[in-house]
């Protein structure tokens, strides 16, 4: 992720950090995969308009992740059999 600008990199890290808060194994891993794939797919975007749109969208996703991550912790279920202790 070396090609990311400062702002993008901070957003990327914040997204991953918010995803890690999910107590649900499936949602947590989906969020990791989704965030990584999204940033890799848009790595080459240089058009400022498009970049602005992507960043705004990611910020909205970050808000959702933070809210839902908290809810996931409040109503946590036991771990799944595949999860390492």
């Amino acid at each position: 992720m070396s090609s990311m600008s400062g702002e993008t990199l901070i957003l990327y890290r914040n997204l991953l950090r918010a995803a890690a808060k999910f107590s649900s194994y499936n949602f947590r891993n989906y969020a990791f995969r989704r965030i990584r794939d999204d940033f890799v797919a848009n790595k080459a975007v240089s058009d400022p308009e498009k970049l602005k749109e992507l960043l705004t969208n990611s910020r909205n996703q970050l808000d959702i992740l933070r809210r839902q991550g908290t809810i996931s912790q409040m109503y946590a279920s036991p771990e799944l059999v595949v999860e390492k202790i």
């Binding site: 959702i64 799944l80 595949v82």
Partner: protein, 478 residues
């Protein structure tokens, strides 16, 4: 009174007795009670008490631990992997995030025209309608919100039959439809309609020539499902639509399993009526939709009469929070269809290839025409319910959730021509966007181990290994 491993995994040669061992209701509820006790015991400090009401004794836990070590269960208070995406999918957190404001502040009735509360919910509901319509290339005015695909199927089939019933008394459907279509058709038969149930070939698809030959001058409706819920087979909907349009017969398709998973275009496919469900696309339960074509107009006799909501076709206050969640789920499904499809295909290809490497295993339905998220496999010489009991680490089903309490073998698999033994030993693996490749690896290893274990207990499998042809045996009758 714990379930003994020997009871749970006993295999009765079905061919001999024409019956099979299935967990009784008592055994099932005991299994659930055991599981809940485990969870309660280990997590009582950590988790809310919602699962433990009425069940909690240390004795049960300790004896269960003994039992699970003999049965090789790894549950130990953990939850099984969810692999039943055709029954329902988890609600996407993004969907829940959209729904919550309607449960907290924006609680207006979308039909209230006199205040802000009503206006804001109405505008959200209309936005949801646009998202649902966009996913099938329909006009938002053609989307009628219902309680789910079962209601939409009933509404479409009974609605058309009753509206045009004075002149047209014939309906065509297939043998592999969901129970709610077949049961609706049966009901109409009782009311004097004639119904043709088209058979399917061994791949699971209907014969288009047979369909065309079955159409009569008094045929009102053809109802064929888009994607089958048990084996995931896709029908040639474009061709069926073309045939129906040519003969001026309405075409209804139950697309509960297809909507949001594969591209659907109601105009290109000449679909007149379509049933859609919300909880199969990571939306909430209890909400769905029915596409009702406006041009050429399809007229229905409504099931519900009342305030005239939804173009008078489905009266009743719309469940705004559910609809808004359903709309958001549809929007996400459209935006991420290719992404999800690629992920699910990767996992299902791996699962199919690995499970088929087990000897005497067949995949049901031609994979070429199946959606990737639904994998139905028969393990010969293993009893399906016993395998499900052995695979308690994985939440699976042997077929439709609606019929999972019944002992009869799947009518869908029998329609495909599978013999009863194979129909009994089938398991459906449902993969969703939230399934991980780690889970699939776990499933592959566990299934391989359990199938081998159960076959080693089976006298039939022993005979097969010795080269005895089971089908040639003459069993003595008592």
């Amino acid at each position: 009174m714990l379930l003994k491993a020997s009871q749970a995994f006993k295999i009765v040669p079905r061919i001999a007795y024409g019956s099979r061992h299935v967990a009784t209701v008592a055994e099932r509820s005991e299994h659930v009670a055991n599981y809940l006790t485990q969870i309660t015991h280990q997590n009582s400090q950590k988790f809310r008490g919602r699962v433990n009401e009425g069940i909690a004794t240390g004795d049960m836990v300790s004896s269960l631990n003994q039992e699970s070590s003999t049965a090789g269960s790894t549950l130990n208070g953990k939850r099984p992997i969810y692999l039943d995406a055709q029954a329902t999918t988890p609600v996407d957190p993004r969907v829940l995030d959209y729904m919550l404001p309607l449960y907290t502040g924006e609680y207006g009735n979308p039909h209230s025209k006199t205040h802000l509360y009503g206006w804001e919910t109405e505008s959200l509901v209309e936005k949801a309608r646009e998202h649902v319509a966009a996913l099938i290339n329909a006009d938002p005015k053609e989307i009628i919100f219902t309680s789910g695909a079962t209601e939409s199927n009933n509404m479409s089939i009974k609605g058309v039959a009753k509206f045009y019933g004075s002149r047209k008394k014939h309906i065509i459907t297939s043998e592999i439809e969901h129970k709610c279509v077949i049961d609706t058709a049966r009901q109409l038969q009782n009311e004097g309609f004639e119904v043709t149930y088209l058979p399917v070939n061994k791949d699971g698809r209907i014969d288009l020539e047979q369909l065309e030959a079955a159409i009569r001058p008094d045929t009102a409706l053809v109802s064929i499902m888009y994607v089958n819920n048990e084996i995931g087979i896709t029908q040639d909907v474009d061709e069926i639509g073309r045939i129906c349009r040519k003969h001026k017969v309405f075409f209804h398709t139950d697309s509960a399993q297809a909507f949001g998973k594969i591209p659907i275009d109601v105009n290109k496919s000449n679909i007149d009526l379509m049933s859609i469900s919300g909880h199969k696309i990571y939306g909430p339960m209890g909400v769905g939709a029915c596409f009702v074509r406006r041009r050429p107009r399809v007229r229905l006799e409504p099931l519900m009469n009342g305030g005239g909501q939804e173009r008078g076709l489905r009266s009743g206050t719309l469940p705004a929070p559910s609809i808004v969640g359903f709309g958001e789920a549809a929007r996400i499904a459209k935006a991420e269809m290719a992404y999800d499809h690629a992920h699910i295909t990767r996992l299902s290809d791996k699962l199919v290839a690995s499970l088929l490497s087990i000897p005497e295993t067949v995949v049901n339905g031609d994979r070429k025409y199946c959606i990737p998220g639904c994998v139905n496999i028969s393990f010969a010489y293993v009893e399906g319910e016993s395998l499900l009991m052995a695979l308690r680490d994985i939440a699976l089903s042997s077929g439709s959730a609606c019929t999972s309490a019944s002992l009869e073998p799947s009518y869908v698999l029998r329609a495909l021509g599978a013999d009863d033994a194979l129909a009994h030993s089938s398991i459906r693996f449902g993969i969703s966007r939230f399934t991980t490749s780690e889970e699939i690896d776990f499933v592959i290893n566990t299934v391989k181990g359990k199938v081998e274990h159960l076959r080693n207990l089976s006298p039939l499998w022993e005979m097969v290994q010795e080269g005895i042809d089971i089908s040639k045996i003459e069993w003595s009758h008592h």
